[in-house]
Symmetry: C2
Subunit: 302 residues, 2 copies
């Protein structure tokens, strides 16, 4: 198995860029994981392309061997374009060509934000084996590290655990399918369901607080979300034979309110022997997982 | 992308072994796909280990660079053991050590039969890109070829599409989960459902004949199986971002009786753009796909 640490010369530095729906971040990171510079800017009230230019041009072209961008999706890896749901001004925005224009002669790589989160947790979280990373937040995203390298997929879209059908009688999903994991387990989905049962809060943070305090509807909303997520995790484990699942994102930050019913839902359903060893763990890198994952993408392009 | 043809010297010959539930086959195959010798023996009425010895020792150790075995499962790749459901005498049978004892100094590799089918269809079926191979038969098995190489998984169990839950209210599966693809789409599952609806035939071949002749219950049994299988294929495509699905096995040999409702079930549900390009094709190599796949495993161990 080849890890980024083994493959890249220790002196290699790359520029990692995290394109989120509300802020952009960038960092110069070297092959042993040291962060040499880091910057971050909200995009509210600004031209997104100007914010991107400012965070990217913190690095001199001579300073870095590559630029790697982890971006909110959808994205088209072949064309190097992104259309982040929360940045309406960017539809098929040519982010790779744009960044390449600012840092000439430096290769520019692109992957999804959840793919980068998975890769970052694998690399800097020191997680051996094959891994599924899941971001449970406004949506549900995922990324796979298989055989010691990121599995991005033929079109760059591997890891879409949020949009697999776990209940054929579930509600329609904006993606076009029905009963997707995201329609049960995302923050807005749990809030929507709880409000339909008479809960009167506004957001997932409040729902988590109420579940922690024992509110029956809030507890049930998390149990329902955990059940669908458990199906998605077991499905991924059966198909990809991963060793561990790492879960991050705003809703996962609620901790046991999500992890306790999730572990409960998994326990009764790990049929096949190789599924019994699957570990489910909270993410450890927090908001920098995506930056480290983007760096790992550039340091180990294989 | 690296193919076995590019990686192995053309003169390399390997012994490919196919361990099925009712017969064993073996062939000496070289790096350009030429079959130099082939043998096959039923196991009914014989000691399975004696049948194995006869098909394996057709090759001289000096003649082959490796032995690769594709076996019915379950199997444990790390320990080199197999427990094929239809060979009760073999439970945790140490097939790798046994074969290594007969052909000293030759490396022995092991993978699942459906994994080898997928790899064989990818290699000799000349199928570019990433591929899911599915065997629809008495059970449902699968195998993945990702990034130009077999993805066998951390424990060697990747590709278990037959045992992912596609309906949480489905019937219990012997694997321990509920509503698995196999409980809807295998030959016995479709027969069982049809008999519950008043159909009086005995097996999947007859069910396919009756569906072809327009029997309403038989048609509906295949539609129901195709619907669950479609969910499994779309799930795999969303998670692994494969380019194509190749379907083989005894039930798939029924042709349009399965493929027509399968394509119909897929059409309405390809939500995300990257799913729209997924091709679903019948297998072309027939019963030798597993032998070619085992050969490819040995010729390109990467």
């Amino acid at each position: 198995m080849t890890t980024p640490r083994e493959r890249a010369p220790a002196a290699t530095r790359v520029l990692a860029v995290d394109v989120g729906g509300t802020k952009f971040a960038a960092a110069v990171i070297d092959a042993d994981g040291t962060v040499h510079a880091r910057t971050e800017e909200p995009i509210a009230g600004a031209e997104p392309v100007e914010v991107l230019r400012r965070v990217v041009t913190m690095a001199e072209p001579a300073e870095v061997a590559a630029v790697a961008i982890g971006s909110a999706g959808p994205l088209d890896r072949a064309r190097g374009t992104v259309s982040p749901v929360n940045i309406p001004a960017w539809r098929d925005f040519p982010i790779v060509d744009t960044v390449a224009g600012w840092l000439p002669a430096v290769p520019v790589l692109l992957a999804g934000d959840a793919q980068c989160m998975a890769l970052g947790e694998w690399w800097r979280g020191d997680r051996p084996g094959a891994l599924l990373g899941v971001v449970v937040s406004t949506g549900i995203g995922g990324g796979l590290v298989l055989d010691g390298r990121p599995h991005l997929g033929s079109t760059g879209n591997a890891g879409h655990i949020g949009h697999i059908t776990v209940d054929p009688r579930g509600e329609p999903c904006p993606c076009g399918a029905v009963g997707c994991v995201e329609t049960f387990s995302s923050g807005p989905a749990m809030v929507r369901w709880a409000r339909g049962q008479g809960w009167s809060g506004a957001d997932a943070r409040r729902l988590a607080d109420d579940a922690r305090a024992g509110d029956a509807v809030a507890v049930c909303a998390f149990e329902r979300g955990a059940e669908a997520l458990a199906t998605g995790l077991l499905t991924t484990a059966a198909l990809c034979d991963v060793d561990r699942v790492v879960i991050g994102g705003g809703v996962a930050a609620a901790g046991d309110v999500l992890f306790a019913p999730l572990r409960g839902a998994l326990e009764g359903r790990r049929g096949m022997a190789f599924l019994k060893r699957l570990c489910v763990e909270p993410a450890v890198l927090g908001r920098d997982a995506g930056l480290f994952g983007a760096a790992a993408l550039a340091l180990s392009p294989g």
